[in-house]
Amino acid sequence: MIKRLLAALSPVVRPELTGNAESPEVDNTAYSPDSRVDLITGANDNTTITDKVCSIVEQKPTIGWWGFFLLAFSVLGLLGIFVPFLIFWGVGTWGVNNPVGWGYAIVNFVFWVGIGHAGTLISAILFLFRQKWRTSINRAAEAMTIFAVICAGMFPGIHVGRAWFAYWMFPLPNQMELWPNFRSPLIWDVFAVGTYFTVSLLFWYMGMIPDLATLRDRAKHSVRKIAYGALSLGWTGSNRQWHVYERSYLLLAALATPLVLSVHSVVSFDFAVSQVPGWHTTIFPPYFVAGAIFSGFAMVLTLLVPARQLFGLKDVITLKHLENMNKIIMLTGLLVGYAYSQEFFMAWYGGVKVEKFAFINRAFGQYAWAYWIMVSCNVLAPQIFWFKKMRTNIWVMFAVSIFVNIGMWFERFVITVTSLANDYTSSAWDYYSPKLADVMIMLGAFGLFFTLFALFCRFLPFIAMSEVRGVLADQAHSRAAASARHSSEAAADSASGS
């Protein structure tokens, strides 16, 4: 019954058109020392991959897609209502006060920037590490990064008191002969996030060119032909073009790699460079980066686990891919948990009274409820991935990904709000609680994210077909080599046997 409902809602529910039925879940997570498992399962070859991925774009969108898109779009509409309200009436529409000058807006900013890091790690770092399994997920993950950075970039623009002057943070020559204050971490953010967005966008787009060309070649309608034709920049697939493409891809991957570590380090400097107790620690850059990767992978899972089901891509985004992602989630989750413990240790070991208080206050003060949500979601939930059965269970991993996202949001909330609410001067202590506009704009950002993602699914190739074909080729070679080896061994056996 649920299957039929899901089938009805599925964005692509006519696999008969693509010639492949709903493929069963193949467990390719087994580890064998003498042979590699197939990354792409099922009887897939270049044609089927192309058909699978392109059909998502080429078929008419189903009710499922429309429902998802319209829902996301209407949530995005909340932004359209509350952001003008905020700009028109003032920051007081939110719940921020003195001493808590930063609330949901900065929490959301850090949350979304963090999420973006997973996509870049998959795209760039895993490329440099020659992890072939990244090819099934890198396109969608990098798209997630772009959209996450867009959502993130909105918040610093609207949270300032005079949003119409927010451009003063950019080093634009002006009649006041004033540059921004380069000592401020917020300016570093401008450069870091700006660079990150630019490089990610270039990398994602450049990587997509061969696939856009595929879509152009298959396009039947003139509008599509022109659109994909323009976007694919005249790609012909010649040897020389592939050569240049591979070189550029490598270069951009190399450029994007340090960004994974630097961007969230710079965002963490917003906190670490200040002197607020609970913020002013050197652990923040690696801690934030680990947390970013942690939450980013969780968001990738949240997006891909349903997507692979609904788009019929279970043999391209296999259990092996998901298991690998879960392993990374566990690793970074352990890093984050370790960082929590180190914060406490250092606060005690360092002996600074106000620092000790800051951490005790986090766990037992007025925001203890937020702290314990954070710990249970971030530290406890991923521990379930020690068990292989759990790592390979779709429902478990989806649930954990949701918990991790919630936990990572609360981590940023705990860091931002508890430290500000109870810092040095006890007479200034106060409590921050969000007003309606805080919550609505936060939801609106999710609406923006999912709207953009829905549009991405609809119009752009969900999977990097050209790279997956490369993996298929490798698979075929190693299979052939393995079978050759087997047959030669069999022949040797029979030869020796007889």
């Binding site: 007081g92 006060n97 003195n98 000058g101 927010a166 204050n181 917020l186 200040s274």
Partner: protein, 1023 residues
Amino acid sequence: MSSIKETQKNSSQGKALWRSLDEFADTDEFRALVEKEFPNHAPELFHSTSRRHFLKVMGASVALAGGLAGCRWPQQQILPHTSRPEGRDPGAPVSYASCWEQQEVAEGVLVTSYDGRPIRVDGNGDHPSHRGSTTAQMQASVLGMYDPGRSSQPSHVTADGHASAEWLGAISALRKAGRSGKVAVLAAPSSSMALSAMRNRLLREVADSSWHEWAPLHRDSERLGTAQLFGRPMRPVADLSAAQVLVCLDADPLMNHPASLQHSSDWAALRTSADDDEPILSRVWSVESTLSVTGGVADVRIPARTADIPRIAAQLAAATGVQLPADVAAAVASAPPSTDDRIEQMAADLKSHQGSCLLMAGDRQPAEVHALVHAMNVALGAVGKTLSYAEVAHGERPAHIDDLQRLADRIGQGEVETLLLIGVNPVYDAPAIGKSWKDLIGQVPLSMHLGLYDDETAGVCQWHLNQTHFLEEWGDGRSWDGTVTLRQPLIAPLYSGRSALEVISAVVDDEAKSGHDIVRGVLQPLAPKDFESSWKKWLHDGFVAGTANTVASAPDVTGGWGPALESAMQTVSGKEIVFLPDHSLFDGRYANNGWLQELPDPITKVAWDNCALISPVLGSELGVKNGDLIDLSVAGANLSMPAFLLPGQNRDSIGVALGYGRLISDRAAGRLSRKPSLYQIADGVGFDTYTLRDADAVRAGYASVSVSRGEGNYPLATTQDHNPVRPEDFMGDLEFNEEQRKIGEFVRVVDTGFNPDASEVKAQVEEAGPHHPDLESPWTEHKYRGQRWAMSIDLNVCTGCSSCVVACQSENNIAVVGKDELAYGREMHWIRIDRYFRGDDVENPEVVHQPLTCNQCENAPCEQVCPVAATVHNEEGLNDMVYNRCIGTRYCSNNCPYKVRRFNYFNNTKNPSATEQMGYNPDVTVRARGVMEKCTYCVQRINRSKIKAHNEKRDLVDGDVMPACAQSCPTHAITFGDLADPKSQVSLTQKSHRAYKMLAELNVKPRTSFLAKLRNPAPREEG
């Protein structure tokens, strides 16, 4: 035809007419002009060859000769203002002396005016009675004048309900009433000699008239008590600078006293003698039910029920063993022996400090306690040293409540045809005498109300007349020591109002006199010859020198009040409710003043509301926390109020502030139908506790109350920790957490004795802070050439009175945000006073106050993190806030460890009324929304002083620059000056052994130092 010349001569207009320039050139007048202008050349010009050439040359003269006047535009003469009358420079401030009065005592003030708009009230430093400081209410009075909620015109109710009226109609009604007689006047008591003269004239000239006085917060007990003791009422003029031991029995001399400014200044002067080479630290004892400002700074405080204080006074008298009249001694002896050894210690202190001690009793104590207190003062040798006595004008007056009774009786007997209410609001703040005041006034055929606001009483009178504010009128008053102080207007009445003097004159005179003439007439006898130059001098100074009337010796002590004292000591057990003046609104008269409503109470830090102050023990018994409603029942009247658990409150006493629950826009008589204006901000704020205060409570100052838990919770807006103590903390072990203990670093208090040792104090002050090594800088630090502005704040003398907060608000155009925003934590005060409780005993903690402004850190954490460089450091060490560059990221506020930065979350100054705009200080920007603001050390005052010094071709000297907070502080706790001058006050105080910097371990290098508080607790017996 006649010649042209003839035609010209015959012209009826009297001006020569000509039809062409040729004609004109030919006239005699023109020739004469040319000859005058060009005496040497005239002949040849007129004999030149061609007329054209001639005219070419003479063209200008023709034009200028005035002969073309016939076609000129009409001439109007304008005069440039090159020689201005003195004091009329546009944009330059001018100060005038005036007089502010409250509770029948005048204070001299100096009012600063820009272009004819008074914008600031400061103290008049020349006034002999008072040292140049102000109270918060004095500072806020300028907003009171510009209050858009003030009544702006007279109104008159007729049979058909029509409302607005003209002053002419009112004046004729007043004169008519004066002629017909049976006029009763209910007025606010005043020390004004002019008003007194008008009163006498009215009583003489208007048949069957009477004059009554009413003030809800009376000082009758002191008058009646001294009358009992000395045979005539005397006013005690205290000199706290000589009182090494001060005992306050339910008294708050530093805040709630007409002479609070003098007391504060004197007490502080003695307190700072703890820094002298032979240091003396006073000891202040306070016995009271609710923490007052004096109780907060007292060295030893005993929380006791107000009802029990007469007994305690008797016990104290017995313990000191002073000589008393026989019946009094008998009454004292009848008091049960005290079980509290603190009373013994109090007595011991008094005995060992004879001649340098002083006792004071509060307004809520009965007259007999005042008599006993003064008997003790005389016996302990205070007179002539710490105390002198002054004559009281109209000393034979009855108590105000008795005066009200008299008026009610007259009304009841139909002896009043016209009731004139001047500056009083009995419908709101007077207890019912038989009937409610609404009904009593309704019984009078003609009732006329003169007041600043169209208030509750105006709502039931037939006429409401808009009164002038003190800044708009002529008047006079006498200060605490009797000095005659003058009041002159700084601006013509904004709404054509009239003063009380003028209204009385309208009753008695056929031609109503102006206040100016009345005051001059009354003061004439003070300078019989050469009045004009004396008058000018008095107006310039603000007072008449040599009119103080204190006497150094006391009249003889008489008895006869012993039995009355004995009966005052009889009390019933049970809970009492005490009616307290509000620290901001006083008796409610300032309820429409936004600055005072938003000012957090010095002790509770609650703003915009009053609440029932209860002990945490009582709170736990009732099961309430802050804001929970409790039901109070006094003699049949009920009121539900939010509770506030206040440490230090006596557990059987409930303190409530008066002055809230106003209804300024109430139109009870259905008079004016206009909707409540948004400017009537007092409406709906707080709870009207006058409803619980009946006539007995007015006499006694307290009443028996029964209290029970009510329903629901009322949100109270506080600016500081919302729960100063959690009920669960004090049952059993009171363990304040780590952070509370850290308070000792911010406000360093050293317990010491009468003669503190400087090096011990210094060691303890350093010990209170965190140990850190000397912080060396990794880079070359900026060398300051020129001034280095700095401030030091002496916590030993800060009383928490909050005058500095309102002074800063007045000087810097700081917006009022309202209760909801304040509850959110968005108040805009640039200076705040942190109030901490210290100690383990929640029923009797110590209170410490710390005023905190921007410390102008040399290594400012805020400057480093602003992304657009909107906050930068200047060459004199000030942290400059550049409003027009700020985009409002609020990172600077996050990084400020003191949290002294304020952000404009909304547009707090949207659409100010026309009068509020007049009241802004033009030297300071009015900030828009989305920008950060903070204390600037009054940079506008620094710059003005520098300009002035530059114009006078001299350097700045210490004391030239005074920020508003420093200027207004009654105890002179705030010192400001130039560190580059090694002899400046601030340089010396920053080097004091008591000096420390707050959060210095963060290496922010603040420019503000604090001086540690010294406390002189009574030694307790061990065990």
